[in-house]
């Protein structure tokens, strides 16, 4: 086999590692014996590899390693609790496995049993321990949203997997429109003073803003109503898991009026329900 210099130079790295087939190795050796330039190149390559291999790496002092160890222990103390719990859990699982194996139950069946048990446990825990109360969610969400400028609508989300599915009675409503810290309720501007939730009823208390005339028809007179209360009933009955004040419900059919639009959306999407308010609730 006769090789050209260009081919040989492309294989020198593998040649010095002995990674070529015996035939190719012999052919390159033959080429090198007769080619001064390629021979020089392979010597340079060998020496380069030697230099890299022989490079001395200066080690830090012992005190530097002591500092590194201090850093490690500080970090470990933070994760020790988590890791310790994990190890504890693993030891527990190991003992469960050994027990099951002692009963002649196979490894795969054990996996299924443990997985099912964990799923069941997570469902129980999710539904009982960690679900915040409706009032708590409502109150926190509303309080949080009131401090921002991005909440014209109050909506209540009911989980898809709720064990108490919402009914049509609770799926209605359009309530609040926010305008620079004030709220417009059915056309009346209200400076909100407080939010209260008691016995499943959300009450918004505030002064009617007399500086802005009410819009639309059938609106209450502002005279003689210094501190109206807005009561939203039956909110808690819908068993919501999350409440939010949203920017606006995304219109699916823009030709619909706001209220019918909401109703339409609510019936289309069982995740959402909106508390209803009527003009009579303002007293």
């Amino acid at each position: 086999m006769r090789l050209r210099c260009r081919t040989v130079r492309g294989l020198l790295s593998e040649y010095i590692d002995g990674d070529l087939s015996p035939e190719l190795h012999v052919a390159i050796s033959a080429h090198l014996s007769g080619c001064e330039r390629c021979r020089r190149e392979i010597e340079e390559l060998r020496r380069t590899v030697e230099l890299v291999r022989e490079e001395e790496i200066p080690m830090p002092s012992e005190s530097h390693f002591d500092e590194l160890w201090s850093g490690i222990t500080a970090e470990i103390e933070e994760v020790a609790v988590h890791t310790g719990f994990k190890l504890y859990l693993m030891r527990g699982l190991r003992s469960v496995r050994e027990t099951l194996e002692g009963w002649g139950i196979s490894w795969k069946i054990k996996y299924v049993v443990v997985t099912l048990a964990l799923i069941l446990l997570s469902l129980i825990v999710d539904r009982t321990l960690f679900r915040p109360s409706v009032d708590e969610i409502l109150f926190n969400t509303i309080q949080r949203s009131l401090s921002s400028e991005e909440a014209p609508f109050l909506a209540i989300e009911v989980p898809r997997y709720s064990n108490r599915p919402i009914t049509a009675d609770y799926k209605t409503g359009l309530i609040l429109r926010k305008d620079k810290g004030r709220f417009q309720v059915m056309g009346v501007m209200i400076n909100l003073k407080s939010v209260q939730i008691k016995d499943g009823v959300l009450t918004l208390v505030g002064d009617i803003d007399l500086s802005k005339p009410p819009e639309g028809d059938d609106l209450p007179r502002s005279d003689g109503i210094p501190a109206p209360e807005l009561k939203l009933k039956d909110i808690a009955l819908s068993s919501p898991s999350r409440v939010w004040l949203s920017d606006s419900p995304k219109p699916r059919e823009s030709r619909l009026s706001e209220e019918s639009l909401l109703r339409s959306m609510i019936y289309a999407d069982t995740d959402a329900a909106f508390a209803n308010v009527s003009i009579g609730d303002l007293n």
Binding site: T48, E56, P58, S61, L68
Partner: protein
């Protein structure tokens, strides 16, 4: 105390066992970390990261490889990840010297001329290595310095053996070109 005993002790929550492993393998970890990162500062970070990872992932150690190899792999991967993170942040590694270090090239027993030559050599090799990309540098370190096979390197780096060979070829070619003046002087 054997490595396996130390791992068992660590699994029982005995952090002192990690201290023994640190004493035993810190130089190995620091060495490979420095060779890949080319910075004492980064090598220190990688050394810490490696032993923290050892602690965190101790429950995943299956005993399929020996403890030394396992720690070594964590160190290599930590060093590579460190470099990749730095690349994303576009930070350049710097060849700093940690406080209190006494490099072997400055030992008082050495002949001054020889010492100068070794310093020059070390600087040249260091600069040449820093000119390689992290992936190419890692292959050179793992193959030519640490003596790992192509198959072992491909496992550590998560690439094919062909890629390892190709990277090694181009990395050596570049190193040869950079170090040629030095090699020609016959050092």
């Amino acid at each position: 105390m054997t490595d396996t005993t130390l791992i068992e002790s660590l699994l029982e929550g005995n952090i002192e066992a990690l201290g023994v492993l640190f004493e035993r393998y810190r130089h190995m970890v620091y060495n490979v970390a420095y060779r890949i990162t080319r910075s004492h500062h980064d090598a220190s970070d990688v050394t810490q990261e490696t032993f923290i990872k050892v602690f965190k992932s101790i429950s995943r150690f299956r005993g399929e490889s020996n403890v030394e190899t396992w720690i070594y792999r964590i160190a290599v991967n930590s060093a590579l990840n460190h470099l990749r993170k730095m690349e994303r942040r576009r930070e350049e590694p710097f060849d700093d010297v940690p406080e209190g270090e006494i490099p072997p090239t400055k030992r008082s027993s050495d002949d001054p001329g020889r010492c100068l030559e070794r310093n020059e050599l070390r600087r040249a090799i260091s600069q040449a290595m820093r000119k390689l990309s992290p992936d190419h540098r890692a292959v050179v370190v793992l193959h030519d310095v640490e003596g790992l096979t192509h198959a072992e390197i491909s496992k550590i780096l998560g690439c094919s053996e062909g890629t390892v060979k190709s990277r090694l070829h181009y990395a050596r070619k570049k190193l040869r070109r950079i170090l040629k003046p030095l090699v020609e002087t016959g050092i």
